[in-house]
Symmetry: C2
Subunit: 178 residues, 2 copies
């Protein structure tokens, strides 16, 4: 079974996007020149799982930002074809977290980047997130799309490391306990 | 005008208590022996403001844990008498954040510890929180009483310092920007 890994930025109040999906609070001039480790992280991943919300946010990026296979979990998009420019780069499927991991295992993936609020929440509930790198931006925005949600019970983590950056970003790495 | 200061612990998903007020996720054996700085913090405060929720949680503590004047902001309790054991130690009032600060200013307070989710939220909205020390416990509980809520707009902070402890607690200090 592949392991799931989260690498995500949030506001201090736990939002990963504004209600309309905007990330304007995240992309700050003072972050420029800081290496928050994403490139190193993604190099160790074999595949990427995201939901429709994240897909809609990145689908227009040119160039396409991923050089690993992307699986978009979406009831709505499953069975449709990716846009021509993205053929061979991603697939749509309507699968449970477990079934999605089984599918990626059959393709040889061992480490899977799990991205997006709804998807992270469903993989956490399914016990499929092994570790999380959470970067907190020092702003409260009051409303938006939450990183975390219903967990179906307590989920305990071990704190592995924390580092902070001149911009004010604080990044912590947690590993599922037990 | 006195300045407001927050010193509070939350889960990774931003809860300061379970739905029933329980803090069982917070009081962990592995925290014992760690000095998270509360004693030093409270010594620099002149008064404490809390809401009814926090008051109800601490009112039974014996000994009473505060040696500074406590102002409990509560529409329901305002006009009632504190329990006999707490006379002279606390007062109930139904005041806005600004009026509460004015009241404490008239008593000579310069630095005020602002505690409890609802109260912290209302003081943040009023621009009356100068800095926050937030301690994050490495657990997701999925539901409970939120530290943060509606902000009425973005509130930006400067990150001042972060430290982590062997228990996994990560503590960051933020100061209101501008």
């Amino acid at each position: 079974m592949p392991t799931g890994h989260v690498f995500i930025a949030t506001t201090l109040d736990g939002f990963i996007a504004r209600p309309d999906g905007s990330l304007d609070w995240l992309i700050l001039p003072e972050h420029q020149g800081e290496d928050h480790g994403y490139t190193g992280f993604i190099q160790t991943m074999d595949a990427i799982i995201m939901g429709r919300g994240t897909y809609e946010a990145v689908r227009g990026f040119d160039p396409w930002p991923y050089d690993k296979p992307v699986l978009v979990l979406s009831r709505q998009l499953a069975g449709t074809e990716p846009p021509p420019a993205l053929r061979g780069k991603l697939a749509f499927a309507d699968l449970s977290p477990q079934a999605a991991m089984d599918h990626l295992a059959s393709q040889g993936a061992a480490r899977v980047y799990v991205d997006g609020g709804q998807i992270v929440q469903s993989f956490l509930r399914a016990g499929l997130v092994l570790d999380m790198v959470i970067s907190r931006i020092p702003v409260l925005i009051g409303e938006g799309r939450s990183l975390f949600g219903d967990t179906g019970g307590d989920i305990l983590f071990t704190h592995e490391a924390t580092r902070s950056f001149p911009s004010g970003l604080v990044q912590s790495r947690y590993r599922l306990l037990g």
